[in-house]
């Protein structure tokens, strides 16, 4: 299909026609004059020389005029016209072209437009570009674009469009108005498909974020490994002295020291958990009683729960055991509970419930809170590294990322069920 006619209505072709007409006039005129003069020769008793001379003037004069005046004016026009046509040919092959009237209604398109959008020519012509609007850009984006081109300027930018089949493509667009007597009569737009570049860009961005995240986690691990020694020594002193004390204590005192033992063990576990990113040779997975995990973690967050006057409900529908690294599973649950506490802290109804149950035959721990829920625009960012809604210094933006990576390393998963107004996070374990 040739779409040239849609773009070139007259002007460039006229230049060619002008030139041919001019040539024709010169040639025909000269021949006519020659004939006239030759025929009328005897009447006017003109000698052959005179006839030849006159004819020569009539042939030579237009020729000279043509050569010195008309041609120099025409040639640049012709060259420009040829160049334009070559440019257009190249553009129409490589770019997505369209032309609209002053209101933005499409009057013509090229084949690339049809190919990329998936719409036919008939479907596109007569419509505005809102047909392929992806709703990705906010209204201000297009308002700004229209302001620019309405003022007679060229607008350039990246636009995300939607194909007929619902998928998306990105184009780099250049839109220019065509002016006639300072009035905008048409707009032309030249677009280039940049979908692949956009995808690569996005991938790169994600990769960088991921790299940054793992770099941060690794350095966190290295720091923890470094301080582990320093912390474990005083812990050894605490435990050793408890051991020494224990022979002199009665039962109720021993109950107290057992709490100290537990606390020390927890500190040791945290140090170990932090360093898990460098410490690759972890111990074997052990059977972990999820009910015990819940009890343990709830004990750890008890102070936070009671100081915030939160109503905590624990439901255990069954006893469940999984093969896991216990401190890591505790870390995940702790993250979820801490998030839940932050979510309900300032809401009028402060309710958190932890359920141990089977969901679709999978062992799950559910953490539900009565907070304000998670806004839709936030949901997809929730598991992105360094995304946090907490105030500066309060959240690292790594809690859920780490938690999910732990669950996935256990061949389980971590996700949430948006269930207005409450939010439920689900720790799902391998079957």
């Amino acid at each position: 299909m040739n779409f040239n006619h849609l773009f070139f209505n007259s002007k460039f072709k006229n230049v060619n026609v002008c030139w041919l007409l001019l040539k024709l006039v010169f040639i025909v005129g000269t021949i006519q004059w020659g004939i006239v003069l030759a025929l009328s020769g005897p009447q006017y008793r003109l000698t052959i020389n005179q006839i030849m001379g006159t004819s020569l003037i009539f042939i030579a004069l237009p020729l000279v005029l043509y050569l010195i005046i008309v041609r120099p004016i025409l040639v640049p026009y012709l060259e420009r016209s040829r160049a334009f046509e070559a440019y257009f040919k190249a553009l129409t092959q490589g770019a997505i072209l369209s032309r609209t009237d002053a209101r933005g209604v499409i009057t013509s398109i090229n084949e690339n437009f049809i190919k990329i959008s998936g719409y036919s020519e008939a479907e596109l012509v007569g419509q505005t570009h809102s047909l392929i609007n992806s709703r990705y850009h906010n209204p201000d984006f297009f308002k700004n674009m229209w302001q620019t081109i309405r003022s007679g300027q060229v607008w350039q930018g990246e636009i995300k469009n939607q194909k007929k089949d619902g998928t998306f493509y990105w184009v780099y667009s250049i839109i220019a108005p065509i002016l006639d007597n300072n009035q905008i009569v048409n707009y032309i737009s030249i677009r280039f498909d940049i979908t692949k570049e956009k995808q690569m860009e996005e991938q790169l961005r994600l990769e960088q974020a991921r790299n940054l995240q793992s770099a941060k986690l690794v350095s966190l691990g290295e720091i923890s490994a470094g301080i582990a020694h320093e912390i474990n020594n005083p812990l050894a002193v605490i435990i050793g002295n408890l051991d020494l004390l224990s022979s002199q204590l009665n039962d109720s005192q021993k109950l107290r020291t057992s709490k100290i033992y537990q606390g020390v063990k927890r500190v040791q576990e945290i140090i170990q958990a932090l360093s898990r990113f460098v410490n690759t040779n972890r111990s074997q997975k052990n059977p972990v009683d999820l009910s015990r995990v819940i009890n343990h973690v709830v004990t750890l967050s008890q102070i936070k729960i009671s100081t915030n006057q939160i109503n905590l409900k624990i439901v255990k529908n069954c006893e469940l055991e999984v093969m896991a690294y216990e401190p890591e599973i505790e870390q995940v649950l702790l993250t979820l509970i801490n998030n839940a506490i932050d979510a309900v802290k300032s809401s009028p109804r402060k309710q958190i419930s932890i359920k141990l149950t089977r969901l679709n035959d999978k062992k799950c721990i559910l953490v539900e809170d009565s907070g304000i829920g998670i806004k839709e625009d936030v949901r997809e960012k929730l598991f992105q590294p360094f995304f946090t809604e907490k105030r500066v210094g309060q959240g690292t933006g790594l809690g859920l990322v780490t938690a999910r990576s732990i669950m996935r390393e256990h061949r389980g998963d971590l996700f949430f069920v948006p269930q207005q107004p409450a939010t439920t996070f689900v720790m799902e374990f391998e079957v």
């Binding site: 020694h229 474990n232 020594n233 050793g240 051991d243 020494l244 040791q268």
Partner: protein
């Protein structure tokens, strides 16, 4: 049977003190040492049956010390607050790597077991 000879080398004197307190009056011959530079010399003179040695000490680490002695004769334990080791000599030189913080009761159990196998 002779009392089992136990040597504990650690630059942290608090740990040594606890160790001595805990095992004093029990059926062991206990010696502790906090100066790592005297370690080789002390081991050679005292000739312990069981050696507990800290990994990270000033100037020298426990593995390098044990490498200088006849470790075949001694049941040596590396005690450490480190999280992991990659030194290949460990499995050859030590019975086990014990992680700090370590309960004294755990050490007692360990020693009782060793006494049985002696």
């Amino acid at each position: 049977m002779n009392k089992m000879k136990i040597l504990y080398i650690d630059d942290n004197t608090e740990i040594l003190e606890m160790f001595e307190l805990f095992f004093s009056g029990k059926n062991y011959e206990i010696k502790t040492l906090s100066e790592a530079q005297l370690a080789v010399q002390t081991i050679n003179i005292f000739q312990p049956d069981v050696l507990f040695i800290d990994y990270r000490m000033p100037d020298i680490n426990g593995i390098d010390i044990v490498a200088q002695i006849d470790y075949q004769k001694i049941k040596a334990f590396l005690v450490s607050g480190e999280l992991s080791f990659s030194d290949p000599r460990i499995s050859e030189m030590f019975q086990e790597v014990l992680k700090k913080p370590l309960s004294l009761f755990d050490i007692q159990k360990l020693l009782e077991q060793l006494a049985k196998t002696r």
